[in-house]
């Protein structure tokens, strides 16, 4: 009897299994590679609650794409959709979010527009967006309407309802009746007075008629050139003078129009306008620069425990931009400044170190800030060095590390401290100065500093030429 080997059976079985797996993966992953070809358009909705990634995008109920991404943009939801390439969207389509049934899932419906000349391109945005009539919103609106109606009926019932309301309605009616009666009475009582009033009105109109006829006479006189006004109007020379005045006025405006004369040139010259524009923008630039420009003055005193001495810093921080500043400072260090002298006598080099105690040291640094980190570099205590500051708690707390005085024959001067803003202008600091020192300069310290922004200094500096970087 013909028999199939177990290898063949196993192989066939595995093959069948793999084919089924392949088929299922293909069906399930259909949209995975089927839709990647489409183009992306986006729309901004107020609320996309319930809309999921991969939700369907439909036109007239036919799926034309999927929601690719939902993100927040300026407090609204930016929905990016991938549309299959053979569907073109007119530029004035409307996008709205709809729900399948009452409890069904949300999808994006696109209502076709009417403008068929141009189509939306990759990455463009659908500008027309409608709010969907979802159940939540509908219920909320019905609730609001019911509330309004209730307020109206409540106040109506307050006014009209109850005995009080009834009473006031009654009194209104009663008052109206009284009023009509009294008017009637007035008319009856004054019948005679009314008739005399009418008679005098008639007399007045007769008087007015007479006044009008004499006015007529006066104007006729002016017409004929009688009297002063008449002569002025009728005299030919007056009109000539007026004509001449108008003509010279015309000449002046013509000149100005043609750009002749000083005034004309001023108005007509393009250069003038350019100059003016430039001047204005220059002033503008200068003012904004001056406004950005900030200057800070600070004093810091540090008490060094191990040497029982105090170190003082006076610093001016010039900040032309938010993330960039310069520091100029003077440091009074009781340890003074070290100078090294090499003297060669007879082939033997002796090195003498001196500390000048009264010497003042300088800080000249440039600094740049990235988020919470400031990197500084330049002269620190009159020697080359770098520093890094890290700010925390909205700049309340500052950690600083400085390294300077690099010298081949001894360790550099390292300093680390933390500074905390106690009040608006008052800072407390604590740290460790020169902690690598091999000469016993190493000391922990506490310090206090005062720092404030100096507006006057700023304008003093900006009125001088602005230092360029």
């Amino acid at each position: 009897m013909f028999s199939i080997s177990s290898e063949a059976k196993v192989g066939l079985f595995v093959l069948v299994g793999l084919i089924i797996l392949g088929y299922m993966s293909f069906r399930v992953g259909e949209y995975g590679f089927g839709l990647k070809k489409g183009y992306l358009v986006s729309a901004v909705f107020d609320n996309v609650a319930g809309l999921e990634k991969d939700a369907s995008v439909q036109i007239a109920g036919v799926e034309v794409g999927r929601v690719e991404d939902i993100r927040l943009e300026d407090g609204k939801a930016l929905v990016t959709m991938r549309i299959i390439p053979d569907v073109k969207l007119a530029r004035d389509v409307t996008a709205l979010i709809k729900t399948h049934g009452i409890l069904g899932e949300k999808y994006v419906e696109i209502v076709p527009g009417s403008e068929w000349e141009t189509y939306l391109e990759e990455g463009e945005r659908i500008t027309s967006v409608e709010r969907q009539a979802d159940i939540d919103r509908l219920l909320a609106q019905i609730g609001a309407i019911a509330d309004d109606v209730k307020v109206v009926t409540t106040s109506l019932s307050n006014v009209l309802g109850g005995e009080e309301g009834e009473e006031s309605l009654k009194s209104i009616v009663r008052n109206m009746r009284d009023m009509a009666e009294s008017m009637n009475r007035i008319v009856e009582q004054n019948d005679e007075k009314f008739s005399t009033m009418l008679t005098s009105l008639r007399n007045a109109s007769v008087q007015m008629e007479k006044t009008f006829s004499s006015l007529n006479e006066i104007t006729a006189g002016i017409n004929k050139g009688e009297g002063t006004i008449g002569r002025l109007v009728k005299d030919e020379s007056t009109i000539d003078k007026l004509n001449k005045t108008l003509a010279s006025l015309q000449q002046i405006t013509d000149k100005i129009n043609e750009g002749r004369g000083t005034f004309g040139k001023l108005i007509h010259d393009e250069e003038t306008a350019d100059n003016l524009n430039e001047t204005l923008s220059g002033i503008n630039r200068y003012v904004t620069k001056a406004e950005q420009f900030r200057t800070f003055l600070s004093y810091r005193g540090e008490y060094l425990f191990d040497t029982s001495d105090a170190k003082s810093y006076l610093e001016l921080k010039i900040q032309p931009k938010e993330d960039k500043f310069y520091i100029l400072g003077i440091v009074a260090d009781p340890r003074g400044r070290r100078t090294v002298k090499d003297t060669t006598t007879g082939g033997v080099t002796t090195r003498t170190e001196e500390w000048e105690r009264d010497k003042v040291l300088f800080n000249v640094e440039i600094a740049k800030r990235w988020k919470d980190v400031v990197l500084r570099g330049g002269l620190l205590e009159s020697t080359g060095g770098v520093g890094i500051d890290y700010f925390a708690f909205n700049d309340r707390l500052q950690f600083t590390f400085e390294a300077f005085d690099f010298d081949t024959d001894r360790d550099p001067h390292l300093k680390a401290y933390a500074e905390y803003r106690l009040f608006k202008h008052l800072y407390l600091s604590a740290g460790w100065d020169d902690f690598l020192s091999d000469e016993g300069n190493e000391s922990p310290f506490v310090g206090i500093s005062v720092r404030f922004e100096d507006e006057d200094l700023k304008y003093l500096l900006t009125s001088a030429p602005i230092p360029r970087d």
Binding site: S6, E7, K9, V10, F13, V14, V16, G17, L18, I20, L21, Y23, M24, S25, R27, V28, G29, E30, Y31, G32, G101, L103
Partner: protein, 259 residues
């Protein structure tokens, strides 16, 4: 008093025994691993076991899968009808089969069919001293008897699971579309919409781990049989019970990790 102390005594003894057993199974697993990577691999033996574990289990797995899918469709339909969401029956069946029921039911069926057979076979070899004879002939019994079975279990259970997933979904379709009258397009559409590739693949990873568990426990129980024909029967029963419980418990933790 005496009885209580005996009870505590027995409890401690059984805990110790179980811990010891777990340790032995793990040691067996390690020795299987070490023998697996040492050539030559006995391909003939592996294919024989693969045929036994895989090919010969197709019928029972297909039956299990198809009826599971059908009953899920039927039950799901009654639930979803309350919300007018009958169209979700397809995706429920498909997700249930690929993620959970496919791997678990397949491996339980294979345990019952092949795991028990492994225990019985190895147990008989042990009590008739054939395993000792193998050792005497300088043929390592782990390499010759256990490694092929474990490899067959790890490789074949996932393939059987694919078949079970597929026929399960087919069963659901046959109940859902012609019998219950769900629209066939929507039925298939919802399956492709809600089932991810990851659902299928994670189910297969589970199946491979279950295959390892059932073959390892079956071999362990058979390999350590003692006490004649009665011992063989006991070993077979224990193998099926322990493997089934281990599969169900590990299924929970695997699901928690994967999904």
């Amino acid at each position: 008093m005496n009885r209580a102390s005996t009870a505590i005594d027995n409890l401690g003894r059984s805990v110790l025994r179980n811990v010891e057993e777990m340790g032995r199974i793990l040691l067996l697993f390690i020795s299987v691993l070490s023998w697996m990577i040492r050539p030559p691999l006995k391909l003939r033996l592996i294919f024989k076991q693969m045929e036994f574990v895989g090919v010969k289990s197709i019928f029972v797995v297909v039956l299990t899968g198809i009826f599971t899918g059908m009953v899920m469709a039927l039950q799901g339909y009654h639930g979803f009808r309350m919300f007018s969401a009958e169209s979700l029956v397809g995706s429920t069946v498909a997700l249930g089969m690929t993620r959970e029921l496919g791997p678990v039911l397949t491996s339980l069926m294979v345990t019952a069919r092949a795991g028990s057979a492994m225990a019985a076979e190895l147990g008989t070899m042990r009590v008739t001293e054939q395993i000792d004879a193998l050792s005497v002939m300088a043929a390592n019994p782990v390499k010759h008897l256990i490694v092929p079975r474990v490899i067959a279990g790890v490789l074949m259970v996932p393939v059987l699971t694919i078949v079970a997933d597929f026929v399960g979904i087919l069963g659901g379709y046959f109940v859902g579309v012609p019998v219950l009258g769900i629209n066939s397009g929507i039925f298939v559409k919802n399956i492709t919409r809600y089932v991810d590739l990851d659902d299928i693949y994670n189910g297969l990873i589970k199946a491979a781990i279950f295959g390892l568990i059932l073959s390892l426990i079956g071999c362990y129980k058979g390999f350590n049989t003692s006490g004649g024909a009665e011992g063989v029967g006991k070993a077979t029963t224990e193998a099926v019970v322990l493997a089934s419980i281990s599969i169900l418990i590990s299924d929970y933790f695997l699901t928690a990790i994967m999904f």
